[in-house]
């Protein structure tokens, strides 16, 4: 079956990004920032983890396997994202994400069949983790337990992709076995976190951060210039937040208590969005076939993201609500600035390219 041409992929990406915008605004609404009625009380976590990341990663996987059927995953994700924003009932939304998850698993299995290795298996496991989260959400009617499996989806996806590249530095058999052990510990940690015990997951994430610091090609690419160096700095700064998030989970914070907001957002904003910032300049050209030439302005939103997250964590742990709220706003503005820089860079590059 043929691949879907890039113009057909753009609406899927837009559906995912609608989820990002609504999700970020819904998060800010919780801090009391004035927001449009549309996002008042909207499910922040579901919008970010399912509508945005679920759609985005299933689109990325569909592009990788280059099969038309694989795009039904991000199509379901994008449509469901819009339905969720429009206020569709939870059941229909969960069913939409269920379809997206099943196709994501099938596409991941397709990549795994082409090259059966630990890293492709971990990517498939990540997709399964997302579907487990959607099913838990459907069953429990609340995302409380599901959110851990969605977090697991992102962590496993990133871990699988980094393991793939770390082969370049020749990972020893011992370190490979250690990686598999850490992945097993993460899955065990997700089960425990679903029933309120986050310390195993915290320990596993600290171990993963340590493994990545040691084995990832990012450390070597610090000596490179331009885009590879920028990506390396995104990755390594993200691993620091992964370590911090894992440490916070060791204390098993409960929702609403000090440490809870920090634990969730060091992992999702500090770790995951640093990965997004690093990879967007190569994933956007791959998905849309637009060039996003590197320039040093890429560092601006990255620095903003990390500084505002540090403020947010200090505000959370020090029980300073205003500082936490401003930190969250800083996170949102950094993400908005990043999207603006990506769109502007791609548009200017397109205008400069002579048409054939």
């Amino acid at each position: 079956m043929p691949d879907l041409p890039p113009p057909g992929r753009a609406p899927l990406l837009i559906g995912g990004f609608a989820g990002l915008i609504a999700g970020v605004l819904a998060g800010l609404w919780r801090f009391g920032w004035p927001m449009p009625d549309l996002v008042a009380g909207a499910p922040h976590g579901v919008l970010m983890m399912c509508a945005f990341f679920g759609t985005l990663i299933s689109l990325e996987r569909a592009v990788a396997v280059s099969q038309a059927w694989a795009y039904t995953g991000p199509l379901a994700g994008a449509l469901t994202s819009l339905a969720l924003i429009a206020g569709a009932p939870g059941l229909s939304v969960a069913l939409g994400f269920l379809v997206c998850g099943v196709v994501l698993i099938a596409a991941s299995a397709c990549a795994q069949r082409r090259h059966d290795a630990v890293h492709t298996r971990v990517l498939t496991l990540g997709a399964v983790s997302w579907l487990v989260g959607v099913m838990l959400w459907l069953w429990q009617q609340t995302p409380d337990a599901a959110q851990w499996w969605w977090l697991g989806f992102l962590v496993l996806t990133i871990a699988g992709e980094r393991l793939e590249l770390s082969r370049l530095v020749r990972v020893s058999p011992t370190m490979q076995r250690l990686f598999v052990l850490i992945i097993a510990l993460i899955v065990l940690g997700l089960v425990a976190a679903s029933v309120g015990h986050t310390s195993v997951l915290g320990g596993a994430l600290i171990a993963l951060a340590g493994w990545l610091f040691k084995e990832d090609i990012a450390r070597r690419n610090l000596r490179a210039r331009g885009l590879p160096r920028y990506i390396a700095i995104c990755l390594l700064s993200g691993y620091l937040w992964l370590m911090a998030g894992g440490t916070l989970l060791l204390t098993t914070p409960s929702p609403g208590s000090a440490g809870w907001d920090s634990a969730m957002h060091t992992l999702t904003v500090g770790f995951v969005f640093a990965m997004v910032f690093g990879h967007a300049p190569i994933i956007l050209p791959a998905v849309l076939r637009v060039k996003v030439p590197y320039h040093s302005g890429f560092y601006l939103p990255l620095v903003g993201l990390h500084l505002s997250l540090a403020l947010r964590v200090i505000g959370d742990l020090g029980d300073l609500f205003a500082l936490r709220a401003h930190g969250a706003m800083g996170n949102a503005l950094s993400i908005a600035l990043f999207v603006l820089i990506m769109v502007t860079t791609a548009t200017l590059a397109r205008a400069r390219t002579p048409t054939a």
């Binding site: 090259h115 699988g160 793939e164 020749r170 090609i217 791959a286 998905v287």
Partner: protein, 109 residues
């Protein structure tokens, strides 16, 4: 008889492909060992290559860059760039300079 006597041979095309980078790794696809085969037959240039992973979404973009690099070198030739998954890529296929960059020792396979 070759209608393009001054046309570049496979080694010249291989050199031209050093301009194509894997942007994530920051290294060219020739040193990474991704280019399996370059055949120049009559008016046709055929390249068979792979990616480091089948889950890599940059595949088609890199194939386009390869096509462009060949077109710059010999615009009059027919071009075919094929993505293959067999044999599987392995880090052992990297050039000596790439292995040295990633810190491989002499006794590493």
């Amino acid at each position: 008889m070759n209608p393009h006597p001054a046309a570049p041979d496979a080694s010249a095309i291989r050199e031209a492909l050093r301009a194509v980078q894997d942007p994530e790794i920051g290294m060219n696809i020739v040193d990474l060992g991704l280019v399996y085969d370059i055949a120049v037959e009559g008016n046709r240039v055929a390249v068979r290559m792979t990616m480091t992973s089948p889950a890599c979404p940059m595949g088609q973009m890199i194939l386009d860059d390869v096509d462009e690099a060949i077109a710059r070198l010999c615009p009059d030739r027919e071009r075919s760039v094929e993505l293959v998954w067999s044999p599987e890529w392995s880090p052992a296929l990297m050039s000596e300079s790439a292995k040295a960059h990633f810190g491989w020792q002499d006794d590493d396979a």
